[in-house]
């Protein structure tokens, strides 16, 4: 039989703890596929965050470490400086990266640290039960914005790609989504490009993935995907914000 689709080898044969319709399982699989395709499983270290994806090390069959809440990019900095010839992938959610870890994010990006960040933005705190995130949309109801996010009280959702694009050092910044198949494929391409740039030593690469949290949004998985498309991409436009590697692409 001709096998056309199978579980990536870099993904452990283990049942995931993620809710039905959650984006993390898709993004984990994409990362594992990219690691397979680049043949770097034995050369890669994954740095996980605190949040729903804290257990990423249970699913990716690579060496992996936890990091304290918000500190993943400081951990990745120490790791990559100590192991410059290994691939370091730093996987973070929106609370981790854009609230408690904003400082670590901006400064790792500004130093141009040569690792790849996968930033999963689902506009909410999942692990702790649905509180307002720095990326929660205006008017979006959460446990801690029960009347909808009011910018007079809680400010505006942080656009991290745009913010990091103000810095000189980052080599690659792209926002993608996984709300449909076409965009899932685009997301995989973006991750692969970012890791490729890292392997070429181009410096900091940052992929923001707009993702779903049906459980804490209180909608079905299908409606969650539609909500990303209709509401999130409106405030968070998809696209490439920085590409210092264009000349590398043809090589």
């Amino acid at each position: 039989m001709n096998v056309v689709y199978k579980r990536p080898e870099s993904l452990k044969k283990r049942r995931m703890h993620y809710c039905p319709g959650c984006g993390h399982s898709i993004i984990h699989k994409l990362l594992a596929s990219v690691i397979d395709e680049l043949g770097i499983r034995e050369n890669t270290v994954i740095v996980g965050p605190v949040g729903c994806s804290v257990l990423i090390y249970n699913y990716l069959d690579c060496d992996g470490t936890e990091s304290a809440h918000g500190r993943a990019e400081a951990v990745s900095t120490g790791l990559k400086r100590a192991l410059p010839d290994r691939v370091v992938v730093c996987y973070q959610g929106d609370g981790d990266l854009a609230a408690i870890g904003t400082s670590e994010t901006i400064h790792a990006a500004n130093r141009g640290e040569n690792f790849t960040v996968i930033f999963v933005n689902n506009a909410i705190y999942g692990m702790t039960g649905g509180q307002m995130a720095p990326t929660t949309l205006i008017g979006q109801k959460t446990k801690t914005s029960p009347f909808g996010r009011d910018p007079k009280i809680a400010g505006y959702p942080l656009r991290m790609c745009e913010l990091l694009s103000q810095l000189e050092a980052p080599s690659y910044i792209e926002r993608v989504s996984i709300y449909d198949v076409k965009n899932v494929i685009k997301t995989k391409k973006a991750i692969k490009k970012a890791i490729n740039y890292q392997m070429k030593g181009l410096g900091y690469s940052f992929i923001e993935v707009l993702s779903m949290c049906p459980t804490n949004w209180g909608v079905s998985p299908v409606n969650a995907a539609s909500w990303v498309k209709e509401h999130m991409t409106e405030y968070y436009p998809l696209g490439v914000f920085r590409n210092h590697g264009v000349s590398e692409d043809s090589k």
């Binding site: 499983r41 050369n43 400081a74 900095t77 790791l79 990559k80 400082s103 130093r111």
Partner: protein, 360 residues
């Protein structure tokens, strides 16, 4: 024996670290330890190492986590307020059993306090410091030379027991220039680093973490494992200096810079015929309970005098060791002020009058 040189504490400790094999330094400026990052920023590149001025102490300690995951010897340094910021990271390192060396050049507190030398971080250093059920070994040097040599010891302890280690100095030790002979590289046997993350080549993939969710007793089991390690450290790694203790009727307990003032006062007291000696803990955790306890049970020893640059923190350990056998007195200064040898002599005379003369 090596050449005798003259160096400032904050710079000499860097040489000690480099001799110990440390090639990674991550730190953030704070007085009175600014010479450490300044020295490391020019010295580490010369030996193929890596220096990063981090965006905060929080980032520094987490960069250490990263380098430690890779199996490298890494350190940071700071002073009291900065060390408070690192406590989260130190707790995580203890939980994940990662080695690290953290130098604290203690200054006056609480809060921003001042920038003068103090020993008021004793509680924080010896009681874990961050959240959770853990300890870290704490080395307390009393001279620039000892500080430099203790750096080698600190890296060994960190690797042997897979734990963060605190080197607790103060503003004086960091700023003072003293003659010293640099340490030799250590010949202690370091267990193979079979936990490090360098890519899962020809082996199962590895995980480094402190999270232990299931089964329900997983974390308790891990805590018990850590405790076994701490028990071993207590058994094997207590270090102290005894000073004129053989005939002492009054035993001073003091560490670091304040112990040097004590030595002057002890000489002055002995010139007056008063038999005073000192136990100087060189490890604050594990504390030298046994020697203090043994002394408290002798007839010869009439009283203990705890001397610290704080309002009495180590005195709790002295009292735990003495277990009410003898009186424990206190003398100290705090808020960045130094103990005075004449004031201490007065205190010794007061203790003599209360405990030695009336019972003679």
């Amino acid at each position: 024996m090596g050449k005798r040189i003259l160096m400032r504490g904050n710079e000499a400790l860097c040489e000690g670290a480099i001799i110990a094999g440390c090639r990674y330094y991550f730190g953030y400026p704070i007085t009175p330890q600014n010479e450490v990052p300044a020295y490391m920023s020019k010295r580490l590149p010369e030996v193929g190492g890596c220096f990063i001025q981090a965006e905060s102490e929080i980032a520094s300690i987490n960069m250490i986590w990263g380098a430690a995951c890779a199996g490298k010897r890494a350190m940071t340094s700071s002073s009291s307020p900065g060390i408070s910021l690192m406590q989260e990271g130190i707790s995580y390192l203890a939980g994940a059993e990662l080695p690290a060396v953290v130098v604290n050049m203690v200054r006056g507190g609480p809060g921003l306090g001042n920038i003068a030398p103090a020993q008021s971080d004793y509680f924080q250093a010896t009681r874990g410091g961050g959240h959770g059920d853990y300890h870290t070994p704490v080395l307390a040097p009393a001279s620039v030379e000892e500080l430099t040599h203790m750096m080698v010891d600190a890296f060994d302890l960190a690797d042997i027991y897979r734990t963060p280690v605190i080197v607790l100095g103060d503003g004086i030790l960091g700023q003072m220039t003293e003659p010293l002979v640099l340490p030799e590289p250590s010949n202690r046997v370091i267990p193979p680093k079979d936990y490090i993350l360098v890519g899962a080549k020809n082996r199962e993939s590895r995980i480094i973490m402190s999270l232990r969710l299931s089964p329900p007793e997983a974390l308790e089991q891990h805590n018990r494992k850590l405790q076994k390690k701490y028990d071993e450290i207590i058994r094997k790694e207590v270090r102290y200096e005894d000073y004129l203790i053989d005939d002492a009727e009054i035993v001073i307990v003091s560490f670091g810079t304040s112990s040097r003032v004590c030595k002057s006062s002890i000489q002055m007291a002995r010139e007056r015929g008063i038999k005073v000696g000192m136990i100087r803990p060189m490890t604050l955790w594990p504390f030298p309970y046994e020697i203090v306890s043994d002394l408290s049970k002798t007839h010869k020893v009439k009283a203990f005098l705890d001397v610290e640059m704080n309002l009495g923190q180590m005195i709790e350990d002295v009292k735990l060791a003495v277990k009410g056998e003898k009186e424990v007195y206190y003398y100290g200064r705090t808020g960045g002020m130094l103990p005075d040898e004449n004031e201490l002599l007065d205190k010794i005379m007061e203790v003599v009058n209360e405990c030695c003369l009336q019972k003679a």
